[in-house]
């Protein structure tokens, strides 16, 4: 057994991981979720807003992180639409506009009563990393003069009276890296005391938790956070149970569970092989 594992071709491990991730997807395995206090606080921050509140949707991610972040971005969109909040979409990532468009498509298809320019607006991509945040918190029009289609902000009912981001009730940021949650905390949430929640990739999560709860009301860590958020959304709005697209993150937890079990087993086996090898003098 020792010799077998010691000389095992790494491609067998790749195959094992492929099966561990692929099998639950093919079989549609889903597991129950229990929301953590952190996720609950994100949900409460949006749920507690009265109808018509203004929410800044800063969606700073791209197709490369879509698998991790898109389900939570859509969950935020659905939650805000159900609460009838006013949504301002913007991205600091050049590949972000198609991601925002997918959220706008959800609003068009699932919430046809909501009107563009009245209930939601797509402000598109702003280049300059954290620069647009710095400008938008004091004078929005210095960085964004028109929506994604080139229509002036003064001609859209939602943006006509919006002077800067300090006027919004909540910032919702979905972040895949730089610029992202950290920059929104540094340049908007902390200096101007604007309520903020965020969802981020797993890599960033441990480094953003210190901002909770004073500088961030809550944080969704990767797909697990998104799944817990979807669970809370389904509990609060049972009509979403009929929409399978609103349960994407919950479906993704099947592959997570099996793949994590495989990984834990591999770590244990690897350590056993190492210590046996050391005892035999092979290491």
């Amino acid at each position: 057994m020792y010799e077998f594992f010691k000389t095992l071709d790494r491609r067998w491990i790749f195959l094992l991981m492929l099966i561990a991730v692929g099998l639950p997807i093919l079989r549609g395995w889903q597991f129950p979720e229990r929301p953590s206090p952190m996720v609950q606080s994100v949900f409460d921050a949006i749920e507690s807003l009265p109808e018509g509140s203004q929410v800044w949707m800063a969606y700073d991610y791209d197709p490369g992180s879509q698998g991790e972040l898109h389900p939570m971005a859509l969950a935020f969109t659905r939650h805000c639409a159900l609460k009838k909040l006013k949504m301002y979409y913007m991205t600091l990532w050049p590949q972000g506009p198609p991601m925002i468009q997918k959220n706008v498509d959800v609003l068009r298809n699932e919430f046809p009563d909501l009107q563009y320019g009245v209930d939601y607006v797509n402000l598109g991509y702003r280049p300059g990393y954290e620069g647009p945040i710095k400008l938008a918190v004091t004078d929005l029009r210095k960085t964004i003069a028109a929506d994604v289609d080139g229509k002036s902000l003064n001609d859209l009912p939602m943006t006509k009276g919006l002077k800067n981001i300090q006027n919004v009730d909540l910032i919702i940021n979905v972040s895949a890296g730089y610029p992202g949650t950290k920059e929104w905390v540094l340049y908007a949430a902390t200096p101007y005391n604007i309520s903020s929640v965020a969802g981020c990739t797993g890599v960033q999560a441990p480094y953003l938790y210190p901002y909770v709860p004073q500088q961030l009301n809550g944080l969704l860590g990767a797909i697990k956070g998104a799944a817990e958020y979807e669970f809370l959304l389904l509990e609060a709005y049972p009509q979403l149970r009929e929409n399978p697209e609103a349960q994407e993150a919950l479906r993704r937890m099947g592959p997570q569970l099996l793949a994590h079990l495989v990984l834990i087993a591999l770590i244990v086996i690897g350590n056993v092989i190492y210590f046996v090898g050391r005892r035999r003098g092979d290491v």
Binding site: R11, F14, M17, L18, V21, G22, I25, L26, G28, G64, S65, Q66, G67, E68, H70, P94, Q95, P97, D105, N109, G124, Y125, P127, E130, K134, T143, A145, A146, G150, K151, S152, N154, V185, L186, Y187, A189, T190, P191, T201, G202, V203, A205, P206, Y207, P210, Q214, Q215, G221, A222, I223, K224, P244, E245, R251, R252, P255, Q256, A259, H260, L263
Partner: protein
């Protein structure tokens, strides 16, 4: 031919044939669309082609979209090409990698030019011309903002480094950008990452619940946060040798760092699995039609 190469070639050919057979019989990987009028501008209808579930393909106003279908197949083949790296470096992976780099660079350039040069700089300097050409939605009567001449001038100076003589001219705007960025960041980091983080760490070590009962878990959490910060600081305090009590505390700091790195690694693994799950779901659902989690093909 080597035995391994023969096995892989046979597998690839069989897989390709199975794929073609399935595409011919089931029709997987096809995308159907419907033309929807989303707006009317000066008597001209703005039509958008929206994707519809394949189960609606027999409806009168639904048609097969060849560009989107080809897009799905290219996307699937690119995914498989990139994934082929697990078998080792190969020409297919190299090709996909080059395509990705080229497309990303071109996309970034176009996005930055449109959003920053056209929509910001040109809009501010020549609003009338922009309204008549690229930005018809621009409000009428917008005046030229001459302050934008400064960034235009500095951009020109930056590009001067490409000229055979006078490359030093590019250093002036560069110095301005570095100084301005450092200034912005210094203030923000000092406020959000230093002062506010100290403030966040000032917390009661003995916590009482709302009903004035002793909250043991809240107390343990706060003690852990405060002691964790102190132990971490001791580890990075190099003015005193890490011996004796200081050495013991620094060792505690190392343990905490290890736990943080472990948590970070665990989260990274979760992220990578999520990305793999996303791609596999795309292959199984959108491309091969092996699964239907969002009920797009009911009755087919």
């Amino acid at each position: 031919m080597r035995r391994e190469t023969l096995i892989w070639t046979t597998l690839m050919v069989l897989g390709g044939l199975a794929l073609l057979g399935r595409a011919a019989t089931v029709g997987n990987g096809r995308v159907y669309i419907r033309a929807v009028t989303v707006a009317e501008v000066e008597g001209v209808q703005v039509v958008q082609y929206q994707g519809v579930p394949p189960s609606q393909r027999s409806e009168a106003d639904v048609s097969l979209s060849w560009p989107r279908t080809i897009g799905i197949w290219i996307s699937a083949l690119c995914t498989l090409g990139i994934m082929s790296f697990v078998l080792g470096d190969n020409p297919l992976y190299k090709l996909m990698e080059s395509i990705f780099v080229g497309v990303s660079a071109a996309y970034l350039m176009v996005a930055a030019f449109w959003d920053e040069i056209v929509q910001n700089l040109f809009r501010s300097l020549i609003p009338g011309l922009m309204r008549d050409s690229f930005l018809p939605g621009l409000e009428a009567g917008l005046q030229t903002d001459y302050s934008y001449l400064a960034p235009l001038l500095m951009s020109g100076m930056m590009l001067w480094r490409l000229a055979p003589k006078g490359a030093w001219i590019a250093r002036w705007p560069l110095a301005f950008f570095i100084g301005a960025t450092a200034g912005f960041r210094l203030v923000s980091y000092l406020e959000a990452d230093f002062t506010q983080q100290i403030n966040n760490t000032i917390m009661p070590l003995i916590v009482y619940a709302a009903d004035e009962s002793f909250d043991i878990w809240g107390s343990i959490r706060n003690v852990l946060i405060v002691s964790g910060v102190l132990l971490g600081l001791v580890y990075f305090f190099f003015s005193v040798p890490h011996r004796g009590v200081v050495g013991g505390l620094a060792r505690g700091g190392v343990w905490l760092l290890m736990i943080t790195f472990g948590a970070s690694f665990g989260y990274t693994v979760m992220g990578r699995i999520a990305l793999l799950a996303d791609r596999l779901q795309f292959l199984f659902d959108d491309w091969l039609w092996l699964i239907d989690p969002t009920m797009q093909r009911i009755g087919m």
